[in-house]
């Protein structure tokens, strides 16, 4: 053998790849394909089971030594750039442009990268909420009201440290905040359409990604992941509707 490959390093690398992909909203088949491609390119036998809540990887070398890693995935956000970057690193590793240590370094940088400017994301949420309201034949007032609701929801999300609370609770709180804001704004200024403002502010929070990945995973035969993602999408949608509906029923009941 010309170079001895450390299976512990390889399993560490595979774990980082799969973990970053799953934590940032990638499909499970993408995590599995990335890891098995890396294994193939290094001439090792790798086996991986990835589900949205965890990964199991085992790496076997030519001498029959086996190393297994298990990683629990707890935080799941949407970060498309991270998926793209992992894709890039694994592509370069397979082509031989990066070695194992360099790839591990890059992936660790990716994993530890903090979002410095939360302000931009809050602004993006506000503008997209506003323009979705405008898309539903809203007026200029509806645009600004929906933008305000979007800002407020994301400020509260940042305050209550999303990672510690369940998706379900966050969606209920988000829906409730959106409806409270829109009721307050429309009844204060006496103009605007409550429905359009609520739908506009709600659209960026809808589980479009979870729905998409659920179907793709189920199609590929990853039934467990498909069902898990579908459950996630359904939970978020029901929780959002519940949050909005609870406030509206109080408002219409009064």
């Amino acid at each position: 053998m010309k170079n001895i490959i450390n299976i512990i390093e390889v399993s560490n690398l595979s774990k980082l790849c799969a973990q970053i992909i799953l934590e940032n909203g990638g499909e499970t088949y993408r995590a599995e394909e990335t890891v098995s491609l890396i294994g193939q390119s290094l001439g090792l036998e790798t086996d991986i089971i990835a589900i949205p809540t965890g990964i199991f990887i085992s790496v076997t070398n030519n001498n029959g030594q086996v190393n297994t890693v298990i990683k629990r995935i707890r935080n799941r956000t949407v970060n498309l750039a991270a998926i793209h970057n992992v894709n890039d690193v694994s592509r370069k590793l397979v082509k031989g442009q990066l070695n194992i240590q360099e790839s591990i370094e890059r992936l660790e940088q990716l994993h530890n990268a903090e979002n410095h400017n939360k302000f931009i994301y809050i602004l993006a949420a506000a503008v997209s909420s506003g323009f979705f309201a405008l898309l539903l034949q809203g007026t200029i007032f509806d645009l600004f009201a929906a933008a305000f609701c979007g800002i407020f929801v994301h400020l509260v999300f940042n305050l209550i440290e999303i990672n510690d609370i369940f998706n379900f609770a966050i969606s209920i709180i988000g829906g409730a905040i959106i409806s409270i804001c829109s009721i307050a704004l429309t009844s204060f200024f006496k103009i605007g359409n409550i429905d359009i403002i609520i739908i506009g502010a709600m659209t960026p929070l809808l589980p479009g990604l979870a729905m998409t990945t659920a179907i793709r995973d189920a199609m590929r035969g990853d039934l467990l992941s498909g069902v898990a993602r579908a459950a996630e999408a359904l939970t978020v949608a029901i929780a959002l509707a519940f949050g909005v509906g609870a406030i509206l029923s109080i408002y219409y009941g009064l």
């Binding site: 498309l80 993006a124 809808l206 729905m211 909005v244």
Partner: protein, 146 residues
């Protein structure tokens, strides 16, 4: 219609920023989102049933995201996720919930339309991933034969 297209493009650009999409992907995914939404609008205004409109628009978006993914060597998800957001039936979900709250007996009607919309979006995605899988295997086997 042109006004709606530009509103939709701006909305998708900022949704893509919210999802932290890489810079190169944002413009293409916003154009996809805008064209897909206009396609949906045209089709749903002509025919009575919005189901075919949802299907066609989603099919268009997903097929072009696969093509862009091959061209730019990026995952297709980067284009699909922001572009599909304007099609997700938020209005249907909201109306269903509102009808339930007001207890006026129309919740099942709007609820079934919403579920059908989601199913048709899903079926379009399934069709695309089937197509890409078939084309991929065909290309791979023909490479091996050569």
């Amino acid at each position: 219609m042109i006004r709606e297209f530009f509103i939709c493009v701006v909305a998708v650009i900022f949704t893509a920023i919210l999802f932290r999409a890489p810079m190169r992907g944002i413009l293409l995914s916003s154009l996809l989102g805008g064209v897909g939404y206009i396609l949906f609008k045209i089709l749903s205004s002509d025919s009575k049933s919005p189901i075919i409109a949802y299907f066609t628009a989603t099919f268009f978006i997903t097929v072009f995201s696969e093509i862009f993914a091959r061209l730019l060597k990026m995952p297709a998800t980067i284009f699909t996720v922001p572009a599909i957001i304007p099609l997700v039936p938020g209005i249907g979900l909201y109306r269903t919930m509102l009808n339930l709250v007001q207890n006026n007996g129309r919740a099942s009607e709007s609820g079934s339309i919403t579920i059908l919309a989601i199913v048709s979006i899903a079926m379009a995605m399934v069709m695309t991933s089937l197509l890409t899988k078939i084309i991929n295997t065909l290309v791979n086997t023909s490479y091996k034969k050569l």
